[in-house]
Symmetry: C2
Subunit: 585 residues, 2 copies
């Protein structure tokens, strides 16, 4: 294998150009095997093998700096920069994260997992280089899909007027995570069709020198292109057309399905799966399809991640005009939802916890200040073993400290359905619902709660001495803890399901003072600025003691939930221990 | 006066087109007198008088919807929509806010004061209209300066493919708040120079039908243009060239100085002011100018608001390449600062509290996750009588709950200087400094604190029984309260200046347990998710009682600080009262 001889870019440079297509195939093979085993970004990486080889053949990393947008295409780069064992040795498959990671290699400058940042980050490096009187190439690699995000545009606008070296490679595989959305993509299509010759050129209009390469999977052509701009003294866009999923027919033909796959995703593709298991996505989908029939102005919205929230092709087709994918554009998504609501429609925006933070200002100004009665479903919430760039623990401080937004946390299937129903029928305020990573299980009895009575907590079990407030899917943990506490101490605690994360039920909290000595809060998110601290503050001047359990303020990086639960004492046995300790003091 | 007969758009429509230039002059006069009296946005409004008249002459508001971006140009619209008394009657000058405000009029759909949102908001209305089977025009008015903000681009990209009516008026006055920045503005220049005929056209590249009007201050020409697109069935950009400050020579010639003026700003323009009074801006400016001499990679950065933070022409000139205005592009600004720091430079980003929230994801991902040692100076922080769109009270929850960012709050001039010095010399983590609206006064003795010892609180006065923790400029309030408490109860409280908002001094807090019964926290910002709640949570399981004082979670709208201080009991007398009450219970 050629790859046996390659550990770093210098090894690569020793190969003859004629050897590189074979190397591409070897790298592609590694990626296919590795990702089909562990899951991960599949098709974007396969399409960028040749370009990654050409970049490292021509440029001089880590002196020259390469910034990969969102890092969905960084596997070939990782293989070429001393990390191939993570792709060829099954025992090391989980050693490296799927994203750019400076802690792994000098060849990665930034830890990146959110889109549309590469041009901005590259521009900062270029400016620092110029101020320091240094001399190297700065290269941003951005996919066509990432271009729709606002920061990419802000970066382009500023980069266009830099009077020195910055090279922006637009990896145009004609896809975002799903289909591209928007007027810009008509221009990219025109540019591809005219082989870059069209006078109407978005990039030139932004002030850039521009070159187009039709054969973006041809190593030789790429090397020529990159050599022609190496050490260039001004900003340049290299628009290269690549094939997403290249080398695997199923991926080439099903780009969205193969953007990211689960373990075995390639092997099992196309095999019928008749075992339907209900999950949060299917609950939501069925609810919306039903409501959309009679509410012709109900619109389901996603910002480029329909797959992540279960908006499959069948759903999109049935929803028709009542489904909008705005592309990678979270700020627009939130503002658009707010405006639809003000215009009398019923928007329901699906967005992941980790990505809703990309639109804080729109949550505050467009949505909350305007009391726009839009519905936001915040998905993938809670402690997880995710990469540090994809944590779902910061949404409670993010959303619940903004005035006017009602933030609901269902603890089971029936509550979720009732909250959905309430949120789309009310017209008073924005409602966000925290959809946990864990599946909301049926409780077996219908929820008749009137959620228009704001901040009314539910008493799940009336006990004494201790009260455990478990938010959202941590009602379960409260119940478990209660059982253990009862077993070990004979104390039967009160259990409370707050339902609301954005306000306190002061009547209930006052009532608790009568027979409660200790209040325990449990939340599946970061404590800092979150729910539990508000309970502590409320009881600050009373005789009630409060213990808060939740995630600490840190970016955890692929640490297993079990380890985190142990570390943060988020287990019934550990909480019980702490309760007993607190009661002693 | 023609204006006497005009209360609403229907009155306007009765005038002959030949009367409109005179009406323009009358409206312009009102605005000049009013804004010169109260202060406010001056030049942007003067440039948009004719266009506002033409819009209301042609379109049918409030059935047709008009969305003004950032509302810097909405005064003529307000005058024409039943609010002229706020501009002609000095007694009513303060009746209306300077921004779009639905609570004032049906002709305003949204409360808006942050930039770059208009296209997104207009698109939501257009989509709602289409879903509801309604039929009206939706018009977005956006300045050239606002186009550089990411959300504007996200909105354009999505609006470009709408298959129905949306009219986007680009009010090109060749200025942002200060000069425009970026490649896009080269294209706008080219379009102006070619009277819209250039083949290279940013808007067409985004998929839009496009018309250019050279005479953007000619009512008749504007009316013809608007009539030609009324009820259009697809998206269209109307690029009109206007004169910022039109009608007032000083403003036409000094567009930046007249973007927003203080009361008397026109009358006093050009008069020498020899009374220099030091303020936070001048402290910062002097510090940076001095440091920039020896630190050639120190860069001061603003996102389009150099005036608001005191970056005057002299400063910009002296800083040269060490000053960057990125335009309206807060996401880019934060990512750029993070990247400069990773590239070995020393970025210092100035940004207002109300606008830093436009870059939460960049604070979290680019800056904090990457531990980029950039410096952020968060300006205009604290409770104020500002419009609801410009509050400076949400930055503590926003920033302090993100891991890895050190958030410092100086209480006086010397601390501020020492913190600045510390922040630009350290290379370990991002540092944000909370610069209050109030002036940081000299204490008279140098600050020798070593701020690299993180989360070390300062004991200002050692007392007993009660401890008052006053954050930032509320150390002053802590001292006042201490005096009053001593007078009234003979209790001399401990006074603590935490200096850090992003972490707790647990040693000091534990030490306090020995002789303290009640801890009081004071913060000049919203309590929800803020500093005080963390103290409450820390003492939750102890016998210490805690009272938190700060702003409640609400969007206050032009309510005087005195009223807010009273309402939130943020006065020494009221706090003392509450302390005495708490000590009794």
């Amino acid at each position: 294998m050629l790859l046996d001889k390659i550990n770093c870019p210098n090894d690569l440079k020793k190969l003859d150009i004629s050897d590189l297509p074979l190397l591409s195939e070897e790298i592609r093979d590694c990626i296919v095997k590795k990702v089909n085993t562990t899951g991960g970004h599949f098709a974007p990486n396969l399409g960028f093998v040749e370009a990654s080889i050409a970049i490292h053949y021509v440029f001089n990393s880590p002196v020259d700096k390469i910034v990969f947008d969102v890092s969905h295409q960084c596997y070939p780069h990782k293989i070429l920069t001393e990390r191939k064992e993570g792709f060829i040795n099954p025992d090391k498959y989980l050693k490296y994260t799927g994203y750019s990671a400076p802690e792994e290699s000098l060849h990665d400058v930034f830890k990146i997992g959110h889109t549309s940042t590469s041009i901005t980050l590259a521009l900062g490096l270029a400016k620092a280089r110029d101020l320091n009187g240094e001399n190297y190439n700065v290269i941003a690699v951005i996919g066509d899909g990432s271009l729709s995000g606002g920061e990419a545009f802000e970066g382009l606008n500023n980069a266009g007027v830099l009077n020195s070296n910055i090279i922006i490679i637009v990896n145009d595989n004609e896809m975002s995570i799903a289909e591209n959305q928007g007027g810009l993509y008509e221009n990219l299509k025109l540019l591809r069709e005219t082989k870059g010759k069209s006078e109407l050129n978005f990039f030139k209009a932004m002030g850039f020198d521009y070159q187009y390469l039709e054969e973006g999977n041809n190593t030789k052509a790429l090397i020529e292109l990159f050599k022609s701009v190496k050490d260039i003294n001004h900003p340049v866009i290299l628009h290269i057309k690549t094939l997403k999923g290249k080398g695997i027919l199923a991926a080439e033909q099903n780009k969205e399905a193969f953007h990211w796959i689960v373990p075995g995703g390639l092997d099992n593709f196309g095999k019928e799966n008749n075992t339907f298991i209900e999950d949060n996505n299917s609950i939501t989908r069925d609810f919306l399809l039903e409501k959309a029939k009679t509410n012709k102005n109900l619109v389901a919205i996603t910002a480029a991640t329909p797959g992540a929230v279960g908006f499959d092709k069948n759903f999109r087709q049935k929803m028709g005009k009542q489904y909008v994918d705005v592309g990678i554009a979270e700020q627009h998504a939130v503002g658009f939802a707010a405006s639809l609501a003000k215009g009398g429609a019923k928007p329901v925006l699906f967005i992941l916890s980790s990505f809703v933070q990309r639109a804080y200002d729109q949550l505050s100004q467009d949505l909350a200040l305007n009391k726009a009665p839009a519905v936001l479903l915040i998905n993938w919430c809670g402690i997880s073993g995710q990469d540090a760039t994809h944590l779902g623990v910061f949404d409670i401080p993010l959303i619940s400290n903004i005035p006017n937004i009602v933030y609901l946390a269902p603890s089971n299937r029936e509550e979720y359905l009732k909250m959905l129903d309430f949120s789309i029928n009310q017209t008073e305020f924005p409602v966000a619902i925290r959809v946990p990573l864990t599946t909301l299980m049926p409780e077996g009895k219908e929820d008749n709660t009137d959620y228009s009575i704001l901040n009314k907590f539910k008493t799940v079990q009336k006990g004494a001495k201790v009260a455990i407030i478990g938010a959202g899917d941590f009602v379960r943990l409260a119940v478990e803890t209660s059982k253990l506490l009862k077993e070990q101490t004979d104390i039967e605690p009160t259990i409370i399901n707050p339902c609301f994360l954005s306000g306190l039920d002061t009547d209930l909290l006052d009532e608790l003072k009568k027979d409660t000595k200790l209040v325990v809060t449990l939340e599946n998110g970061v404590l800092s600025g979150g729910f539990g601290e508000k309970i502590s503050a409320y009881y600050g001047s009373s005789n009630i003691k409060v213990l808060n359990f939740g995630a600490q303020k840190e970016f955890t990086d692929r640490i297993s939930p079990d380890e985190l639960y142990k570390k943060w004492r988020l287990r019934a046995d550990l909480i019980t221990e702490d309760i007993k300790q607190a009661l002693k003091s």
